[in-house]
Every structure is written in structure tokens, then in C-alpha cells.
Symmetry: C2
Subunit: 697 residues, 2 copies
């Protein structure tokens, strides 16, 4: 019976597997199959994650190079299960062969907290007598416990409880009405929840109590705004349409657009994963990046009062940027002509789940791509740019993170992140001063200082995997003004310093040299500049990690100690703070510091390297951020430098182009592309189509 079923399943699987690109996320059928295969041998577990174990790079590079004659990598599921007593199992299921190929009990770790794990805490907390007692102290009677809410967070690390028991901390709030924002009514105590026993096991109560806030509600949803006088009526529609369709194509999950080709993956942890990113340079398909993802983040809060030190969420490693991703809506999150990709996950019970419209693919106008006017004769070329955006939005309790991977026609890759959502808030007693660790953003509401530090994992493939990373510093030339070598003191150049070994391959940001970093292939020189073909990391939002050396956050978030770490590529090194992040003590540090410690002399020059880049913002809240934050953006650029032999966007159709000869001959220039729809705002002599008005003069 069992054998028969497995054979059925295997043949079923084979069909499934065959359809998929090796980088494709597991389908719902594959997830179901993996669960079924696990269940054969392990009936007493629930599922934390079932996700694609990506093919080994070496194997996959061979397949990419010659997919016709190279065996296709097996489809393998990376499985995390939790058994009784919080026992954690890490397994690999070969879906191509229909069998478990690895199954290990992993001691002393806690896998991430899923949405299901989070959802249950509020229900438990509302019924817990000690929580009810604490609410009573703050003036909330037992019959109002349905008005008490909690945002369950991972506990971070609490030395009193260690890592063996699976814990969450419950940040407590109150809602006068179900539609009121709870963040105006934070409660001052913090229960700790045991996920095994589904019980509140401890409550942290501050020495000085802070009563329930008495300020009136402040809300942002449409119903609330309606009551406060309604919405503004002076915003006219702005429509974005693509009547002839989009300029991109999808082959499975491989996106082709304006010479770019990129496979779009997605997993529960990192969200979007871009793989095998190449650029068609006049017929020559050139590798640029092997893999790109937002791999981790940490949000340390700056209030030293216990237990706020526990607020330093690793939103990807502790909850999962994929698990928390939003289902997006046409015309709301993105405008224009949109293609969505869904995301498939497993739930605790082992059932496949789908988030519809998890990833948004769309184009946007990008303004002027290039322009030049000859001042002699006003001959002019102006060309507008377009960009291709691959985005998702995830909600981490109070905060929203909007992640935009942007491809440009000139070979630039950009990662933009917008922060929005709601500030994490804490209670403030009457007369208490929120400064210096926070700001009173609304009466009785203390929003603590915090940072958002993101860790970008970049596996460069600059015309091949043999790459070197250089610090590039704008440096003054030798010789003072008046000297022979630098008579006017104006000499400066780009000083390039190669990062050489794992233990020395880190770099801090230095604004005083306008520091950037080049990912170069030293084996290939640009035909004109004779410099190595490179992509340059240009990143300016790089605050240092503010928690001090050897602090809890410093220990746990090793990746955040430097703007850049460079390691030798390893298929098993994907998670810069470790595979299982919740309740890690940071002693020893997981992830990057551990990998470096294991191979300090490992060379990172002219070899297959991975770059880990930490960037972000420091957020000192202010009332403008409340009750919902206007989006705050930041971004990172990867710019081709000495990679192409010329501007690779020269053949993008110009909006207008005239040559000096045409001008001299009194001819009109060439209107290659004009939208024909742009109009004068106030008419002004008839709303003529733009093609009659266009021209650089």
C-alpha cells in the first residue's frame, strides 16, 4: 500500500518537477508532496517551513551553461519541523527521487515564529489570570479583556530563559473600540509566552507603573477620516496606462526586459530572490549577479530600560519576509499594467498555502535617461528612461516594509526600501519625559528611538564568478599646493584597495572619501579603459550599528558590525545571522562571524565571493510619524563601471533628436517616441498633442 502510494506520488511528482526551473520556488503540489514524504517517517511533527533548497551553485552553473546536455538539478525541499518538546528537525527531501535525504534533530535552536505562532498568543493572553490582573491594575476590568490586544514578538534573547523553551514576548495594547489604533494605548507590562505549553510563563512589570492612556483615539482609516471632516477633494486622478501592453516577458519565472534576464524566486524568509541576473550586451549574454536578496535585518531599539533591550527584531530571520508578505492590489500598491506572482508556503498542519499577488512586476517611467543640447545651434537629443520594478510589501506587526528591486536600461540595479506602517509605541506616565530614548508622538505615547538595518546578500558574477571586491576611496594626490607634482593642489584619484581574506574582508563606510565598493573581475579588462569590468556598490544610507560592542544586539547581529563583509561563496551560507535566529544569545555569534572564524585566512581575491552589505536608517520618531508613518525611503545602487564599452542604453528610442545638420538645414529633428498624450495643464491655445509641441527648442 505504502509503496504503491509512493510510486503514484513519485510519478505525480516527476510531472510536477519537470515543469519547474531549478530556481523556482516549490509549488503547492511540491510542498504537499514534501509534507507527505516527511509524514511517512515523522508523523508527530508540525511544519515550520517547507521551501526550495536551491541547487548547489556549481551544479546549477553547469546546468545554466548547457541545460540541454546537463542533468537538471533535483528538486529538493528544505524542511523545518518542530516536534514535541520544541524539538527541531532540519530535513531535506529530494522531490525528484521522492525521499528524505537528510533529517537531523537540531539541539538548542528555535526556528522562526510563523504567523500562526503569532496569532494564538493574543487569545491566550486575554484569558491568563495574571495578565487580567495586570490589566486590572491599569484600570481595565476583566469584562473588557476583549479590548486588550497584543503584538507577539520573538523574545530576542532573554538570559533568564535561554534558548531551550520556545518563547514570545507579548507587547500589550488596548483598543477602546475595535477600530481604534491600539498603538495609542500601549500597556506597560510584558507577558512572556511559552509556545509549547501555550501559556504565559512570566510577566515583566516595570518598577514605575504607567496608567492606561486617556488621550482620545487617533486613527487613519477612511472611516475615521470621514468623521474628522473627510478627505481632501483637490487631488485629480493621475492615470498610468500601457495600451499596447508591457515591455517585459516572462518565461516561467524568468523575466526578460530591456536586455536584462533575471529569475524571480521567492521564499518564506528573504522574500524576493533574484538569480542568474544577466545583461544582453549586443548579443553577448553577460552574467552580472548570480544571486541577490535581502537576507536579514535587525531593528534595535535604543531604550536601555528593561525589557526594551529585547526589542531588536530580526524581521527576516525571526518571522520571515516572505511569510509576512502582503497580497497586493491593482491600482493600490502599484499602478499601470501589472503582473503578479503568487507565493506558496506550508502551514503548521502541513497544508500548502497561497498568498495571491505576492510579487508585483511592473514598469514605470524613469524621467530623463539622457539629454544633451549643443549650445551652438540647439541641436538636441532627449531620451526618456523606463524602469522595471519587482516588488513586495511585508507587514512586521506594526511596521510595513516595501521592497523594490529596480532594473534600469543603463545597466543599473537599484534596491529601494520604503518604511511605512505604525511606530512601535510604549506607555508614558503623566509627567514622564520620553527623552532622550524616545519621543512623545501623541499624548501618553512614547515611540522609542530605533534603527532599521538591512543586510543585502549579493553574489556577484561579473562576467563570471571569479571576482574581487575593492574599497574605492576618492583620495587627494600627493604634494601640497605649490609643489611640483600638485602645483594647484587639485589632484585627486580613485584609490582602490582589494579586500583579501575572510578575516580582513570587511569594510566600514567612509563618507570623507565618498567610499564606494567595486565588484570586479580582474581577469577581464574593459577594452577602452583597461580597467577590470566591475559593478560599483553606491550606498549612502549606512548608519553604524548603534548598540555598543559586545552588547546583546552586537553579538546577535554580527552582520551589522560593518557596512560590508566579503566571504568565500558557500551554498550553506545564506543567512547572515544564522539559520535559526530566535533566541540566539550571540555568544558565540552565528552567521558571518562564525563563518569568518572558521576560515580566517580564506582568500577572497579573484575567487567566488559573496558580499554582505548592511545599510539602513536611524529613526528618531516625531509626531509626523503618527498615527501612521508617511513612507520613508532609502536605496542602494549597483552601477556598471568599466563593464560596458559604452552607454548601453544608446539605442533606447529618443523622444526627440536633431543633429546640427538638420538644424542648419531648417529640418525638424526626429521624433522617435513621443507619447502624443502629454498636454498643457491649463490648455493655453488648445490641447494640442505633444507631437506638435515637441522639440528641444
Amino acid at each position: 500500500m505504502v509503496l504503491e502510494r509512493l510510486q503514484q506520488m513519485a510519478s505525480h511528482l516527476t510531472g510536477q518537477v519537470a515543469e519547474h526551473h531549478p530556481f523556482d520556488p516549490l509549488s503547492t503540489d511540491e510542498i504537499a508532496a514534501a509534507v507527505e514524504i516527511v509524514r511517512r517517517e515523522h508523523n508527530d511533527v508540525h511544519f515550520n517551513a517547507v521551501s526550495l533548497e536551491e541547487p548547489k551553485k556549481a551544479e546549477m552553473m553547469r546546468w545554466v551553461a548547457d541545460s540541454e546536455y546537463t542533468p537538471k538539478p533535483h528538486r529538493i525541499a528544505d524542511v523545518v519541523c518542530i516536534g514535541r518538546g520544541s524539538r527541531v528537525f532540519d530535513g531535506l527531501v529530494d522531490l525528484t527521487e521522492g525521499r528524505i535525504v537528510q533529517w537531523e534533530l537540531t539541539e538548542g535552536v528555535q526556528p522562526l515564529i510563523t504567523m500562526e505562532d503569532l496569532q494564538i498568543v493574543e487569545t491566550v493572553a486575554r484569558k491568563d489570570p495574571k495578565v487580567i490582573e495586570q490589566c486590572g491594575i491599569l484600570g481595565i476590568p476583566p469584562e473588557e479583556m476583549h479590548k486588550v490586544y497584543c503584538d507577539p514578538w520573538t523574545i530576542g534573547y532573554d538570559e533568564r530563559f535561554g534558548s531551550k523553551v520556545r518563547l514570545q514576548q507579548a507587547l500589550m495594547y488596548y483598543r477602546p473600540h475595535p477600530d481604534d489604533s491600539q498603538y495609542t494605548y500601549p500597556l506597560d507590562f510584558c507577558p512572556i509566552y511559552n509556545a509549547d505549553t501555550q501559556q504565559i510563563v512570566h510577566i515583566d512589570v516595570p518598577k514605575t507603573r504607567r496608567p492606561l492612556n486617556t488621550a482620545p483615539p487617533i486613527n487613519y482609516h477612511a472611516e475615521a477620516i470621514k468623521k474628522e471632516g473627510g478627505v481632501r477633494d483637490d487631488l485629480k486622478p493621475l492615470n498610468i496606462t500601457q495600451p499596447e501592453g508591457v515591455s517585459f516577458k516572462l518565461d516561467g519565472r524568468t523575466l526578460k526586459w530591456q536586455n536584462w534576464s533575471v529569475h524571480i524566486g521567492f521564499n518564506y524568509r528573504e522574500g524576493i530572490v533574484l538569480s542568474n541576473v544577466t545583461f544582453n550586451d549586443k548579443g553577448n549574454i553577460r552574467p552580472v549577479f548570480w544571486r541577490m536578496s535581502l537576507a536579514e535585518m535587525v531593528v534595535p531599539y535604543g531604550n536601555p530600560e528593561h525589557p526594551h533591550q529585547r526589542k531588536h527584531a530580526f524581521d527576516l530571520g525571526e518571522y520571515g519576509g516572505g511569510y509576512m508578505t502582503n497580497s497586493l492590489a491593482l491600482g493600490c500598491d502599484c499602478k499601470g499594467a501589472i503582473h503578479y506572482l503568487d507565493a506558496a508556503f506550508v502551514n503548521k498542519a502541513g497544508e500548502p498555502q497561497t498568498i495571491k499577488n505576492a510579487i508585483c512586476l511592473h514598469e514605470e517611467d524613469a524621467g530623463i535617461l539622457f539629454k544633451h543640447t549643443d549650445f551652438r545651434d540647439d541641436s538636441c537629443t532627449v531620451t526618456r528612461g523606463r524602469k522595471m520594478i519587482i516588488s513586495h510589501v511585508f507587514t512586521a506587526a506594526n511596521y510595513e516594509y516595501c521592497v523594490y528591486w529596480i532594473l534600469h536600461q543603463d545597466g543599473v540595479i537599484q534596491l529601494d526600501i520604503k518604511l511605512t506602517g505604525i511606530l512601535n509605541t510604549y506607555a508614558l506616565a503623566p509627567g514622564e519625559d520620553a527623552a532622550p530614548w524616545g519621543t512623545e508622538v501623541y499624548p501618553g505615547v512614547n515611540a522609542h528611538n530605533h534603527q532599521h538595518l538591512f543586510c543585502l546578500r549579493l553574489d556577484p558574477n561579473i562576467d563570471g564568478p571569479q571576482n574581487t571586491v575593492f574599497e574605492v576611496d576618492a583620495t587627494r594626490g600627493d604634494g601640497e599646493p605649490g609643489s611640483e607634482q600638485n602645483p594647484y593642489g587639485n589632484a585627486f584619484y580613485a584609490k582602490k584597495t582589494a579586500l583579501k581574506t575572510m578575516s580582513t574582508g570587511m569594510s566600514d563606510y567612509d563618507a570623507s572619501t565618498s567610499r564606494t565598493w567595486d565588484f570586479s573581475n580582474p581577469n577581464k579588462l574593459n577594452p577602452h579603459s583597461h580597467k577590470p569590468v566591475s559593478y560599483k556598490l553606491v550606498s549612502r544610507d549606512i548608519p553604524p550599528l548603534l548598540p555598543k560592542k559586545h552588547s546583546l544586539v552586537y553579538n546577535r547581529a554580527g552582520f551589522a558590525r560593518h557596512a560590508l563583509h566579503v566571504t568565500r561563496q558557500s551554498d550553506t551560507q545564506l543567512h547572515p545571522a544564522g539559520r535559526h535566529v530566535p533566541q540566539t544569545s550571540g555568544t558565540p555569534s552565528q552567521g558571518i562571524p562564525a563563518w569568518i572564524a572558521a576560515d580566517p585566512e580564506g582568500g577572497i581575491e579573484n575567487t567566488d565571493v559573496v558580499v554582505w552589505h548592511t545599510f539602513g536608517v536611524v529613526h528618531f520618531p516625531s509626531p509626523e510619524d503618527y498615527p501612521i508613518m508617511p513612507a520613508e525611503g532609502m536605496g542602494v545602487l549597483l552601477r556598471p563601471r568599466n563593464f560596458f564599452d559604452r552607454n548601453p542604453a544608446l539605442d533606447v528610442p529618443a523622444s526627440y533628436s536633431s543633429t546640427p545638420s538638420q538644424v542648419q538645414a531648417g529640418k525638424e529633428g526626429v521624433r522617435v517616441v513621443v507619447d502624443g498624450l502629454s498636454r498643457l495643464a491649463f490648455g493655453g491655445g488648445g490641447e494640442k498633442p505633444a507631437s506638435d509641441d515637441c522639440g528641444c527648442k
Copy 2:
């Protein structure tokens, strides 16, 4: 006769004057009138500039506060004339009274070089025997002198010639065909032109000669691309329309949009000037900035070889960002529903000139303004933002600068600058290495390292003119991990340091503290946070001035020595490198250093101050930048912090909003604004309008 004519003119003028807002640029009629008034007394001059002398701030603030009962400031023309022997006259003409009120001979200065000044040099150079001789040495026969071109630059400062004679340096190029980019064929010598005598007075010839480049032409205009295989055909139209019109209004040149009010000026020097910037905060008109402009810039090149040290153009002070501004075209420079403003200038002969469509006003979609989803029930609000853009583009010989002043609904003001156009290039001899001071971007073409440093003049008016500027540094709390006050080492706060006097009121950028600067009104506290109402300058593209201390550029560009200077407001201090910039030696330094030296102890706390912010980029060229540069952007943000008592954009209509109650009742949320036009890219079950698809789930 004369009297009669003047009376006619005066009455004519009165009519003109009455129409204008005191901040409006001079109209063509006003320019004509000013010229006529000057000509009465000074017949032997030509005109360098006739521009609005802005009303004195004190007078204008009174008028703004109560324009009904306060006399309107006179219309005054600021006039720069050049007489015989390069004698410079600075004058003021009161147009309201129809008379010259100030007329001074200014010794030892050179006003900026106009487009007319530039145009003539090429003609003269082509006929100059010594230039013809030099061309011959490089292999260009005399009969090909029509193929020789030059970009005339101000000479910067050359100690051999000083400041008394009006000079330009001619950067020389060759075009095989009139439509070929000359920047591929730079000539290695540099003639110096005397504007008084209209003669080449000297030629700088390098010791090592560099022959004419023999590489084939490389061009970017449509005709050239056609020959090389044509434009790409896979870019589908992307249309942006506003069928119900725009959301902004103009009262004269005062723009009203989404609670903002701002007067849009323009002058030959700074280009766009924004004045009396206010925000309607729930009916309360709150001043934000009195005046904002890009006031100066310098582009130092990093090659120490003589005479390249002279390449450090002050594009605003030496040529004028207004004078060089482009006439913009619908659908080319901007898309959508556009309103243009023209610009009026004087020419050398005193005739008014108009640049049509000099300023572009338009709106753009700004993506997600704010969003939050409650993870418990998926109730969600998502609101899209809009931005208002006031832009112009100017061409400085080879380069293009695109300047975008952007207003946001959340009270943020953003200045974005895009650099495009063509690299300045120099000849490279066969076998010569362009490194380290430049890059060979194409065979035989050396593009030198350079910086673009912009100086932003900001006159803050944060709920009034009494403001203080603070350095704000993200700072770790006292106490090491384990200490009582900082047990987990996570404490951090915003350390604020007031700038106090003119001589100490400068600040450098410090990325290690994520430094920002607050412009605060210490006399008014936010009702919730109890912190002073403020706008925060967030700027991250701040390279240091790379020319060394006491170098020529350091001396001439005093503003670029620090990221920030703060001075006491003065009506006469508009130009940070001085009023007349060409051929200044920098000893002593003009502009900011001189003002500080004149009043070192001048207090800048809680008083009327002006902030000068220098930011920009370091550009190490690469072949991707050639033959035309894909636009490279940078930006500066001014963010309200503790200015509003809540998110000021709460009443922007949401795209979608649902409350927990609505979700629980199974009701749809409120679709307040959905464009109804967004579509699925690939159909997928019919192209349903977005309103059927919208929703956060």
C-alpha cells in the same frame, strides 16, 4: 522730448509694475524699461544682466503679512553693465519711480560670461593664425578649420593674467563631420581669448603633444543610432494622463498645491527660486522657508597637469543657471499634464529675450504614501502619494543639469538633481595612460576625474524667521554593556548641538553619527513632543572638497569647505562665491568666508539665519558614461520633524481602506480612490477594471 518719453514710459511702467507680485522676475517690458532708463545716462555700455533686485526681506515680510495695508515694495532692476575697457558697472534701477538709484563702477571684477560671450570665441579661434598653426601641428590643414570647434570656458583664475582683462579659455575639439561628437576629438592645446579685443592672446601648449584622435566617431543622436542598427523595438508606450486636469493652481506665479503655497521665481543666475514657502496646516498658514535656491556650484577637475587646474567651473556664478536653461518640450522632458513658465532675460544689446517653457510644473504619482495591514484580520489602509515637481534643465557646455524641486504631501521638500550630457574630455596620446587622474572612456579620449559640488541656499522660516540650526548626531548612551545605566548596551539618542556664531557656524558631514541638521524655531514647541518645531536636512551625498586646503579651488570656492555654513540673514548675501565670480583669485576668498570674517562673533542662535549646504558627487568617469551619460541622480530632503502634530497627509484619499469592524462584518472596505485603469499585464481572465480587483487581501 526726453522728459515726455520718460513720462510715457513711467506711466507704462506703472501699469506693468502693478501687475507683478514683488517676487516675480522682471517681465520683458520691465527689462526694456530698465534698459531704457540706464541708456538715458549710460549710452556706451552693453548689458550683462538685468534681473529683479528682490525686495528687502524686512519690507517684504511686512507686505506678505498684510499686503492690503502695506505699501507694495518697488520693482527694482539689478543691472550689470560692461563698458569700454572691461569697466564693470553695478546698478539698481527703481522701475516704480523710473530712475537709477545706484550706479557704481566696480573695479577688478569680471561679471559672468553670457551665452553671447561664449558664442563668439569659436569664430575668432578658427581664424586665429596661431590656432591655425597649432591645428596644423596636430594634422588639421587650414582648409579644415571649419571642422575645429571650441567650448569656451571662463578661465577660472590664471595668475599670469589676473582679473583685469576679461578672458576665456577655449577647450578645443575637432569634428570629422558636423554631426559627429567633438568630444571624441579633443585637441591638446588651449587658446586664451580676450573678450575686450576679441583676440586670442595666448595659447597653452603641453610639453608632450597628443595627436588628433584617429578612432572612429561615436555618436548618440537618432541618425547615428539608425545607422548602427536602429533603436530597440521592444519598449511599449507608457502613458500618463490627467483627464480631469491637474491638482495645482497658479495665482500669478504663486503655486498652490496640497496645502503648499510657494512663489516661483527665476533668475539668470540661480534659475528657480522658491519664496515664501508655506503649508496650510488645518487652516493655519505656517511659514516653512522664506527663500530656497541653488545658489552656486563648482566642478573641480582632478588632473594636476597645467592648465587643467583652470577647469573648475562655477556654473551658476560664472555662466548662470538661468541663462543656460533649456526650453522644455511636452512629452520629452516631462510627461503628463504640464504647465510651463517662460524666462525673460536681457541680451548684450539691451533687448529683452524670452526662453519659452523654461520651468516645468507637473505632478507625478509618488507610490505608496502610507500603508498598514493588521495582521490579525487583514484590515488595511493603503494610500498613494502624489508629488509636485518644479523643474528646469540647463546646459553648461558639455554637461546637462536637471533640477527638480519636489513638494510632497507629507510636508517634505526634496531637491533632486540629475547629471547628464557629455563628459569633458581631453586628448590622450597613443600609449599614454589616463590613470590615475582620468579614464580612457573611448580610444584616445581621456575623461578627467571631477566633482560636482552644489551649494544650496536655504533661508528657513520655521514658523517665523527666528531659527536655530542644530547638528543632530545619533549617539550611543553612556555606560558599557553590563553597566547599570546601559545594561544591554543598546542605549542611543539624538544629540543636538546648536551652531552659535558665524565663525563657528559650520559643520561637516559625519556618517558615523548619521548626522542630520535641524532648522528649529526654539520659541515654539510641538504640542506633543515638546520639542522645537523643526525641519530636518537629510543629505547623504556630501563628498568633501577634494582640492586641498589653500589650493586654488579651495580659495575660490569657500562655500565648498564645509557641508554646512550658517550665516546671519543679509539681503546682500545671495552668492556664496561672490557676486562676480569669473577670474576671482580666491585671495581673499569671496562670499561666505568674507561674510564670516566681517562678523565672526555674529550670533546665529534664535535669529534670522541662512543655511548654505554643499553636496554633490565625485565622478570617476567610465566608458558607460560615453558618448552621453545616463543620468546620475542625487538628492536632498527637508523633512518636517516635530513641526506638525500628526501626519499631515492623513486626509489624502486612500486607495483602499477597511476597518477591523468592516472585515468582521464581511463588508468590503472603502474604495476611496482607485484609478479604475490599472490592468493585469497579461490579461489573465479578462482585463477587469481595478475596482473589481482592489482590496488589500
